[in-house]
Symmetry: C2
DNA sequence: CGCAGTGTTGAAGCATATCAACTTGGGTGG
DNA sequence: CCACCCAAGTTGATATGCTTCAACACTGCG
């Protein structure tokens, strides 16, 4: 069931059989959410953390005027609120952007991992640090890249992350967001997103149809995005 | 020497005497950097992590066209590259924005903490998670706040963070950045920053002169920023 | 004293937002 | 099974926030 998580952690260091078994043993309670439902509400203090097995989810904050900013996108294998374990109180909400299948880990069990499994603890810590690295990359994209490059960068990132958990097929992957949601990810208006997407499509960089993104020219896409995947820490080494 | 770190960690949970002593014992090698020097270069694999004792530092990335985006600001008491311990390879540089006094912690010693001091491990983990929460808040500010509100939000954040480590005096704090650096933090041009700052000054919200920011109207500043400090996790509770 | 980095100002242009209308397509109830 | 409906996508027109460029003032320092 939790194969995607094992692929994720396993892409950064070798997991022992004991570690794998322990993770399997604490990740048992599963749940389903419909698109639009909150997996975790802002301000809550969940006693468990949520591993996404299938679907797309997003962390977000809503402003006083009703506008929304999505601060992270999550896919299969992502521990969407692992940070809630040390942090305790959610400072943002997490919403399902498609039907989501999740499984829960009690914070008591995570605590036990920190008491007895130092290596696994470091890998879970690393998992939250990669989230942070992605946040930084988004900040760079929002602050200093053109919107066109920002979009290209996001596509590169999603492709690499989905590849780790085997959710790509050739040069394509499922991408169930609406343009409205995508605009909330990028921090731009839907209209401008729509026009920029069309330009990229016309140029033959990538297409996005029927909830599927297909990369047409990977070289060119990376070039436009100035994409360098180091920040994703996809490299198996002792941690 | 490391009082600022103890204030930082101690603002989130109670530190035992044993934990304090251990931290003191591993943080011994100190160094000084001049403004403009790199504390940690991009692409490096430092065998230690750097605690900032005094001064301002920034994490940054440089784009192909030479423009720069600062992704984090660090002040006294911040472990500027604690994340390098599990991550290993730096995906960004860290530069001193003022003369900086730092002290180093060997990764071997940090590893020992994860093996024997689970509670302290969780507090260090939390420290890196607060960095992540700040990143998210910056993403929100860049994407969905006016530049004016973004600036106000940053001032609120810095004031609260500096208060934790006792680096405020009344409604003022030292802020040694140039407007050029500040613009790289916000992801805007210097010219526009300059004009927006003047508007805020004219309105009597805050002033920024001779490397010192003074908040004139804290209520109004928070209002403009829509500032809510939960994300900083400044609350002592069992972690 | 003079230079270099910083701060300030005004003018002009561009990127992006906003507003409004229209199209398209999938889902649903009559 | 068709008709309609609503959400999503698309388009064009207009408005504006922000950038860029260029010039000048200020200040600290060698």
């Amino acid at each position: 069931m939790i194969e995607a998580l094992l692929l994720n952690l396993g892409s950064r260091d070798v997991l022992s059989g004991e570690e794998e078994n322990l993770l399997r043993s604490i990740l048992v309670k599963d749940r389903h959410f419909a698109a639009g439902e909150d997996l975790v509400p802002e301000g809550s203090r969940p006693p468990y953390s949520t591993l996404l097995l299938d679907g797309f989810a997003a962390r977000y904050k809503v402003m006083a005027d009703g506008s929304r900013q999505i601060t992270a996108l999550h896919v299969a294998g992502d521990f969407v609120d692992l940070h809630a374990f040390p942090v305790k109180k959610m400072d943002h909400g997490i919403v399902a952007l498609s039907p989501c299948h999740v499984v829960l880990a009690d914070h008591a069990d995570l605590r036990a991992i920190t008491e007895r499994m130092p290596h696994l603890t470091r890998l879970l810590w690393l998992d939250t640090l990669v989230d942070g690295a992605i946040h930084r990359e988004w900040i760079v994209a929002m602050g200093r890249r053109s919107k066109r490059a920002q979009i290209a960068h996001l596509v590169c990132e999603l492709f690499m992350r989905l590849q780790v958990v085997r959710r790509t097929r050739g040069e394509s992957f499922q991408f169930p967001l609406t343009q409205i949601e995508m605009a909330d990810v990028l921090g731009i208006s839907v209209v401008h997103l729509n026009k920029t997407l069309q330009a990229l499509r016309r140029e033959g960089v990538f297409t996005w149809e029927t909830r599927t993104i297909t990369i047409v020219d990977w070289e060119r896409l990376q070039e436009i995005a100035e994409f360098d995947p180091v920040y994703l820490s996809i490299s198996r080494e002792p941690r």
